[in-house]
């Protein structure tokens, strides 16, 4: 009873198509190519004053905010949790930074901008620690625990801005949202640096494995000596910190702390990026590279909608269609069905061959 061994080419093809990132990358390429065909200039990148410009660069810039949120979200989701507060945390950190700049007499100084950024991010870190406290120490379900801040957060931001939309002019601060560095927009650089740092921290230490271990089997992990509380708490802290950074990057170009609208529904975008990247909401294995692809897909959809002149009210619908397609393609049930039917076909073919041989 020998089974046919597939040729190396078939084997490689199968390995590629079964890779976690295969369908997300296909979706991204399809979107880009479709846009490129419809609007020929879409994929071109030009250089002006040493800065790169073009639709693709804009997509990268747009992907920076959801990516920053999604990096932290991925860690939280790996532990089997969720962080719904990231949108509200964006609003709070921006409010804190802009209020500080507003009150400062030297808003134009780079040093003041640095302090403003540090303050905003620090407050966000504290909020992340608060979420972690409720989840790990008080044992509140993550959905509820972070929903508290999601709801209350906008009120807090409102208190900070005293109900106004605080607007300030501070060129150094604005730079983090609309400036350029090495030819690339600042948000892209910031997101890239955050990505590299998070990946290094997660994969060069044991943190990544322990996060996954907790998400897969918390009690078994605890008995194996994993300090589940500390590790989980850390994930929420990182999520808060990155959400704060995202708020600043997102709000810097306009310099207006609009407590009601900054980061609205961004938690959902972040969750989508993580899921599109192949991470299961049930926790466990998480994929940072996939999350980047997820963020790019999400932003590309928003651009493509404009290119195809789809009415803006329909954007969410279009988003949903693409996401459903990717999720279905990744669905383990579907993969198993396909595998099973392939096996059945193969065994039937073998049976036929055997039957033909026997009479002779």
């Amino acid at each position: 009873m020998s089974t046919t061994t597939p040729s190396p080419a078939v084997d490689i093809a199968r390995r590629v198509t079964q890779h976690k990132l295969f369908w997300p990358v296909v979706a991204l390429l399809v979107l880009l190519v479709a846009a490129g065909v419809r609007s020929p200039g879409f994929l071109s990148v030009t250089v002006q004053d040493g800065h790169l410009f073009g639709q693709v660069i804009d997509i990268m810039r747009g992907a920076a905010t959801p990516l920053l949120l999604a990096l932290g979200m991925a860690l939280v989701i790996a532990t089997g949790g969720i962080d719904l507060s990231v949108g509200a945390v964006m609003a709070i950190s921006l409010a804190v930074s802009l209020e500080y700049l507003d009150a400062s007499s030297s808003a134009g100084e780079p040093a003041t901008a640095v302090v403003a950024v540090a303050l905003g991010v620090a407050v966000a870190l504290v909020l992340g620690l608060f979420n972690g406290f409720m989840v790990t120490v008080l044992g509140i379900q993550p959905f509820i625990a972070t929903m508290i801040l999601m709801v209350a957060g906008r009120g807090i931001a409102m208190l900070i801005t005293k109900g106004q939309i605080t607007t300030v002019t501070a060129p150094p601060f604005k730079h983090i949202g609309s400036g350029f560095f090495l030819g690339l927009p600042m948000p892209v650089i910031i997101a890239a640096v955050a990505f590299v740092v998070v990946v290094l921290v997660v994969r060069r230490t044991a943190l990544g494995m322990l996060l996954e271990s907790i998400g897969i089997n918390r009690e078994a992990s605890r008995l194996a000596g994993v300090q589940a509380r500390n590790v989980t708490w850390f994930a929420y802290a990182v999520s808060g910190l990155l959400a704060g950074l995202a708020g600043l990057v997102y709000g810097a170009p306009t310099m207006a702390a609009d407590a009601n609208n900054i980061g609205l529904m961004k938690e959902m975008d972040a969750i989508m990026c993580v899921v599109l990247g192949g991470t299961s909401l049930a926790g466990g294995k998480f994929y940072m590279g996939g999350t980047v692809v997820g963020a790019l897909i999400l932003t590309t959809i928003e651009r493509v909608v404009i290119i195809f002149h789809i009415p803006s009210q329909l954007t969410p619908l279009f988003k949903a269609v693409v996401i459903i397609a990717v999720c279905i393609a990744q669905s383990p049930v579907l993969l198993q069905k396909i595998n099973m039917s392939r096996l059945r076909r193969a065994s039937r073919r073998q049976a036929e061959i055997a039957n033909q041989e026997v009479p002779a």
């Binding site: 044991a206 494995m209 322990l210 996954e212 089997n217 008995l223 194996a224 000596g225 300090q227 065994s347």
Partner: protein, 514 residues
């Protein structure tokens, strides 16, 4: 019997997983009205063969004929419709539903689109009565003991008018009298012409109940035999593929003699350690190189005592000394840092990390001792993994396989590897051989004795008294949450003595619960 048509005929079944051939051209026949035991070591392919028959796995080669018709089931419900019902090793029920709902799940009596609750409870009662399970159908399932849950699972399997009933390790969590009840039911079903496929690691039970057996080894068929014609030792040697005399020497390993004196301080010393509602305050000492056995019924408090020693639960009385120094182990992590390791009896819930690899599962505890930020270097992990996979004979020998794809016995070995890799001075083993086969059992026992000879202190908890007596120097008996009498092991201490001690009614108690 052979004149009759087999109800199930599997020929040339081959199943491949990435990197392993789980089954290789296996033939299997099952006749109506027989109890057929499927025998083999862990990883021999027993569960895989069952899963091939019930449609959980697709087969890569071979054919399955049920009732004269070639079939290929896509899922278990299709197999069930064809009359093949399965009771799995791990209880597969819905804990927060009632007993009646679980038993009748998918077969609820209906009035139009609505469930007739009264009829459902009555029906469930009927099926439970046939198994002599005395439990109210409205009880929430999770509030019952594992044994009763297992009986409910069997009741559920009998609800469908099954032609074939598969019992995969149905007795591993049952007490002796419950096993007898189960076997009475099995015999009754057999009389009615049901074909029963029985998998168990307990050779006594296999010989008691089965008519015929099929032996597998490493995914290949060894042969099919009439139970009455195959002596036990011969069966075991067919299962593990080793000569009989070699086996005898393992079995003959004598009682471990009590060491004369201990001039050192005890490695572990519990003084009045206890936790309300779990285990009454107890004293316990284990010296370097000593193995202490802990016996008692399920739920007697033996596991609870072990958990206090490991910091898995926090005691509310007493103190714990390690090498004479008082320590407070707040968490398992603290215990591991004090070189105490604990292997839980609940492999699935408290042991394995299913979606991580074997390699990661082995390295996990070593890593947590070192802390989150200091990753154990790859080379060191490679060494640990290679050493223990070899020493414990973990099969398949592929560290990158996902833990959940290993057989139960091999998962247990991986967990042992995890704890041994931390080089503990105190090793607490709670049911380390549950669900693993004879060969591996002897290996584990030998390993434990070897470790103790090298100075490790071991607390050995097991439901198999023979095994406890084979390895331990002293035995402590736990009964009704009280740790009692210490026995010094010797030739006069037999399993019967232990049973008698456990069953002895405390003066003021109302006796043992069944």
């Amino acid at each position: 019997m052979d004149q009759r048509e087999p109800v199930v005929e599997m020929t040339g079944i081959t199943i491949e997983f990435p990197g392993v051939k789980a089954l290789d051209g296996v033939d299997f026949r099952l006749y109506p009205g027989e109890v057929h035991a499927l025998m083999g070591e862990n990883g021999a392919g027993k569960s895989t063969l069952i899963k091939a028959l019930t449609g959980v796995y697709a087969i890569n080669g071979g054919r399955i004929v049920v009732d004269g018709v070639e079939r290929s089931f896509n899922n278990t419900s299709e197999a069930q419709e064809a009359g093949i019902s399965t009771v799995y090793q791990e209880v597969n029920l819905v804990g927060n539903l009632s007993v009646a709902e679980n038993v009748m799940l998918g077969h609820e009596p209906r009035v139009g689109p609505f469930i007739n609750w009264r009829a459902m409870r009555a029906k469930a009662r009927e099926y439970l009565d046939r198994l002599h399970v005395d439990v109210h159908p409205g009880t929430e399932l999770s509030s019952l003991s594992v044994a009763v849950q297992q009986l409910c699972a069997i009741a559920r399997a009998t609800v469908v008018d099954a032609k074939v009933l598969i019992l995969d390790e149905p007795t591993s969590s049952l007490q002796k009298n419950e096993v007898d009840e189960l076997f009475a039911v099995v015999r009754e079903l057999k009389e009615r012409g049901v074909a029963i496929l029985f998998v168990s690691h307990f050779l006594d039970q296999v010989y008691e109940i089965s008519d015929r057996m099929t032996v597998l080894r490493n995914g290949k068929l060894v042969g099919e035999y009439m139970t009455a014609e195959l002596p036990r030792l011969e069966l075991v040697s067919k299962m593990i593929g080793r000569a009989e005399d070699e086996l005898g020497s393992i079995e003959e390993r004598a009682h471990r003699v009590a060491a004369a004196t201990h001039d050192t301080a005890p490695r572990v010393q519990a003084l009045g350690l206890g936790k309300e509602g779990r285990i009454e305050p107890f004293d316990l000492s284990i010296y370097p190189g000593q193995i202490v056995g802990l016996v008692g019924l399920l739920g007697s408090g033996r596991t609870e005592a072990a958990r206090l020693l490991y910091g898995a639960d926090r005691p509310d009385h007493g103190e714990l000394r390690l090498d004479g120094e008082t320590v407070r182990l707040h968490t398992p992590n603290a215990a591991l840092r004090h070189d105490v390791a604990f292997s839980s009896e609940d492999r699935k819930r408290e042991g394995i990390i299913g979606d991580l690899t074997v390699r990661e599962n082995i390295a996990l505890a070593v890593q947590t001792v070192r802390g989150v930020w200091r990753r154990v270097p790859k080379k060191e992990v490679d060494e640990i993994v290679e050493r223990y996979m070899k020493a414990l004979n973990i099969y398949p020998n592929n560290p990158n396989m996902l833990m959940k794809n290993l057989s139960g016995g091999n998962q247990q070995k991986v967990l042992l590897a995890r704890w041994l890799a931390t080089a503990p001075e105190v090793l607490i083993l709670d049911e380390p051989t549950r669900g693993i086969d004879v060969g591996a059992k002897a290996e584990v026992q030998r390993l434990v004795i070897e470790l103790a000879d090298r100075g490790m202190s071991v607390l050995f908890i097991s439901s198999e008294f023979e095994e406890v007596l084979r390895v331990s120097e002293r035995v402590r008996i736990v009964r009704d949450h009280v740790m009692g009498d210490e026995l010094i092991n010797g030739p006069e201490v037999t399993p019967e003595v232990l049973i008698e001690r456990i069953a002895r009614t405390p003066a003021d108690g109302e006796g043992e619960a069944a």
